[in-house]
Symmetry: C2
Subunit: 219 residues, 2 copies
């Protein structure tokens, strides 16, 4: 059944690839089974045969894309475990932005749409796959900020960083909508912007760290 050589499995992965691309492009509702099948060179009934229904295909397509991308861009950004917390944080930011900006990366685009417009099917299941990543980031932030940073502060910093990362997605979308703008996505700028986010974030973290000594936000 999971034999990758069989024709069935090939159609299946063709469907997954096409589906993740199209769902990322058009969102769940505006994607039609017909178009997915067409791009996957499969018959219109193939989705129902292989996945049962559109929702299940959606879910499987996201999972497929996510694990593909994560194996292509490891979450630690290639920074060794022994490096300083700040360096490791920088690595993670780099990895996330790469995954978001990559041409053939779809999982973040899907999440983005999914958050903006929950399908109620992903929402809890996404959490199962994404929360681990999130937790690792929080641990890292905890190391950066020192052990007397409280929970809220960690969440705030996490939000600041992820907010910046997700913004790349917005720029990516806007690029499509209005091609005349000065944009970030072209690779030379993307590299620059990534460095900017890292620098900006580390500065923010350090500032909060020093202010923490004199203010509220103790653990």
């Amino acid at each position: 059944m999971t034999d990758l050589k069989t024709k069935s499995a090939l159609t299946r992965t063709r469907l997954l690839k096409a589906a993740s691309r199209i769902f990322a492009q058009n969102g769940y509702q505006e994607s039609t089974i017909a178009e997915i099948c067409e791009q996957a060179k499969a018959n219109i009934a193939a989705v129902n045969y292989h996945f049962g229904d559109k929702q299940t295909l959606y879910l499987e397509a996201w999972r497929y894309a996510f694990s593909e991308e994560l194996s292509r861009y490891p979450a630690d950004g290639g920074v060794p475990r022994q490096a300083s917390p700040e360096q490791r944080l920088a690595g993670r930011i780099r990895s996330i932005i790469r995954r978001i900006a990559a041409e053939d990366s779809y999982s973040f685009a899907i999440i983005h749409k999914e958050i903006a417009q929950p399908t109620l099917l992903l929402s809890d299941i996404l959490e199962k796959e994404i929360n681990p990543q999130r937790q690792e980031m929080l641990v890292l932030l905890h190391e950066c900020l020192g052990h007397n940073a409280n929970e809220h502060l960690l969440h705030y910093c996490h939000a600041s960083i992820m907010g910046q990362c997700f913004h790349v997605l917005r720029l990516k979308q806007l690029q499509i909508a209005q091609p005349n703008r000065t944009l970030v996505i072209e690779s030379q700028y993307l590299e620059d912007f990534t460095n900017h986010v890292i620098e900006f974030s580390l500065a923010g973290i350090r500032a909060i760290q020093t202010q923490m000594l004199s203010q509220r936000y103790r653990a």
Copy 2:
């Protein structure tokens, strides 16, 4: 025709209010004219009569919501013109986050969905209304960073700040999807988070400012 007393105009604004709420909640595609009319206590044909079609209603509803919200929360955040650039920047950030987080604010939610999923009708028209806001922010950033900051750098900082602001929207959505999380939207935390974003961002800006002296990024 634009007489606000006439019954027609009342139905019209009832439609606009209901539409902006529902579009913000469900996005364009998943909102049905039927539901909008129901909530606006209007007949199913009212949309077509008053606006022609769904797209036009969408557009008008966004404009309505946007100007409503902007008049409720002025863009400068109430900070006087004479204040320092950093204070004025803080004011703008405050204003944006308020508008994003407010219970009955819909324009940002709609933009958010629109960016994630362009309808191709808003995309250019949004730009006409939003670009002014954006430009003012860039000017402010230019003042903060000093006159030898180059264009790209301004865009990067703008992206960092707006990314954080928009993240509030994501948190707002996630709150609906999974109510058990520690969240930011409850008003005491929102205030905290707003201050965090301001502090974080100003620290980032200052760090970049000092680094600018020794590095690239000259004007």
